[in-house]
Amino acid sequence: MGVEAEVTPRRLTVGRTRSDKVFRGVMSLGGFTSLVVLGLIAAFLLFRGFEIFRDFGLSFITSSMWDAGSGDATAPARFGVAPMLVGTIVTSLIALVVAVPFAVGVALFFEYYVPPFMKNVFVSMLDLMAAVPSVVYGIWGYSVLMPHAVGWSKSLNHWFGWFPLFRVPAPIFERSPFIAGLLLALMILPITTSVAREVYSQAPRDQIDATYGLGATKWGAIRTVVLPFGKGGLVGGAMLGLGRALGETIAVYLVLNLVFKVNLQVLASAGGNVASLIATRFGEASPYELKALMAAGLVLFMLTLVVNMVASTIVARSRRSS
């Protein structure tokens, strides 16, 4: 039969069709939106705030002054965000110190103590609290949390007043960094808890069962298997929470007294953060002050960007290793 000799392999079209090339191109373009937007934000804030960095240099970050001046040479404008930067970090750290132990506890409770049928309800509740707007947290913090927290502040000051951070110059305890920190703790708790919970839920079941087989108690299993396994995820979740707390505006604006002086006495009624500074001054700012606000926004943007990038790297790494 001569047919077999005539058969040549069919030509295969390798590579992508034109429609696929277009599709992939368009999707790639869209995919880069986040990159482009991030770049644009940095570029525009730098562009608008450039004059400030040129005029003040590093002292914009290190000095404690916010004076729009009178517009002429007699009273020049002076800007320095040091107190706000310190306030941002202080309130966020308080939030973190309060929130992380609770996040660990609640995550463990959801994952290892709650009966399965209730777990879904609780997890939905967690997501729901993460979606509560900051202005609602703010109004609640101002009118419900603050009256209680003032009492706690007084006791703290009474019993631990010898500790430098808990001293106050005057017995006014309203609108202090401590209260702002507590409110922020409540606000970052859902995100930190849900990251921690997710990581804990991936803890190797066989190892947990093995510890039980060796006669361990529940706490023994958690201490030796779950907590070491979830360390990375917890750090990442905490840093995501930190990123949130650093950039929080309205809630802090409502419960914190904006004072332009570096204040480490967390119970005293003075503090601030960069975001609430922008919200406070924005309405009545002169063009030059507006530039200073843009520069402050850039500083805040960079700070949160770094924190978030570190956080997502840690979370991603702990996911990959699991």
Binding site: G105, V132, P133, V135, V136, V144, G247
Partner: protein, 356 residues
């Protein structure tokens, strides 16, 4: 084969044993622990500086774990530790749930005071914030929030889903970096997003505050949420489906469009709804872009527009009794809106799981 296995006699009415079940004794013991701690808490409130319901809660929360541990005393140190940790973890949850319940309860109970028939249908054009609570309302804020959020979704949802498709379907060389930067973008402080849109759109293009600028600012915050949720959803589609589609000769475009997306359509809707819930309550960016205005308007280009968060904020700023009551009522509407969105997302997402 069967006759090689020795016969195993099952007693006629044997109940299967369930060793994991709580026995009556443990239920009784747990109840006893709660009762004892509660009364000890009451005793502490009666004798020391702790006062009121909150004081009782705190006292009870603090004394319960040791008491729970003491119950296990005869079983050794480890059993006691484990029991104390278990009780502490429960108490941690209770102490966290307390403020959450308080938030929802306060918002609803205080918001109810300023609520009347016309609250959802009148604006504040002819009334001041101090006016009696049966005048004026929040219709302007509700329409504003709806318009701004819809415009933000029109931009952010397609872009977010495209980002997710790039990461999961196209799997381009830069997918890892796109994923990373989308994550990073979710951390952009909301006020910075507002400042950015103010610096670009408001200052350079429109020269006045308007709702479109507000929507743009919100879409920056919305995009990462949509992208991340959509990515998780797309990942769920099994590769078998894609392979089957390719084996039939489909291009990647038609595989994505006709196979992948229809499979997870409800999941993608969930991602959009979650994105909306994420931004509907944002205040700070709107203060810098769409601001607040007392009149019911649907003009999104010309001039400022109210929204529920800025309505709450503006009324809170006035500071009188009636205006604060209005702020609470605004919070109630906002919270209700977000919760409804959330439950919708859950329902759609839940249905998706069953179909799969």
């Amino acid at each position: 084969m069967n006759d090689m296995i020795p016969a195993f006699e099952v007693p006629p009415h044997a109940e299967p044993r369930r060793p994991w079940r709580q026995t009556g004794r443990t239920v009784l013991l747990n109840g006893g622990v709660v009762v004892v701690s509660g009364s000890l808490g009451a005793l502490i409130v009666a004798t020391t500086g702790l006062v009121g319901l909150l004081g009782w809660f705190v006292a009870t929360i603090l004394v319960l774990p040791p008491i729970a541990g003491a119950v296990e005393a005869k079983r050794g140190v480890r059993a006691v530790t484990s029991r104390i940790v278990g009780a502490s973890v429960l108490m941690m949850f209770v102490s966290v749930a307390l403020p959450w319940v308080s938030i929802i309860w306060t918002v609803i109970s205080r918001g109810a005071k300023a609520f009347y028939n016309g609250f959802l249908t009148t604006d504040m054009l002819v009334n001041s914030a101090d006016d009696p609570l049966n005048l004026g309302g929040a219709s302007h804020a509700i329409i504003g929030t709806l318009l701004i959020v819809v415009m933000a979704s029109l931009l952010a949802v397609p872009l977010g889903i495209v980002t997710a498709i790039y990461i999961v379907e196209v799997r381009g060389r830069a997918a890892r970096y796109v994923r990373f930067f989308t994550q990073a973008m979710s951390g952009v402080p909301s006020i910075v997003a507002g400042l950015f849109i103010y610096a670009t759109v408001v200052v350079a293009v429109t020269h006045k505050f308007n709702a479109v600028a507000g929507a743009l600012a919100l879409s920056i915050l919305m995009l990462p949420t949509v992208a991340r949720t959509a990515e998780e959803v797309l990942k769920v589609v099994s590769d078998d489906l894609r392979s089957a589609s390719y084996a039939l000769g489909a291009t990647q475009l038609s595989t994505t469009w006709r196979v992948v997306i229809p499979t997870v359509r409800s999941g993608l809707i969930t991602s959009a709804v979650l994105g909306v819930a994420r931004v509907a309550g944002e205040t700070a960016p709107l203060l810098l872009t769409s601001q607040y205005f007392v009149k019911f308007t649907t003009n999104v280009i010309d001039g400022p527009m109210a929204s529920l968060p800025t309505y709450v904020f503006a009324n809170l700023g006035v500071g009188s009794e009636n205006s604060v009551a209005r702020a609470w009522a605004g919070s109630t509407v906002l919270l209700a809106l977000i919760f409804i969105l959330f439950i919708t997302a859950r329902l759609i997402g839940g249905r998706n799981k069953k179909v799969r």
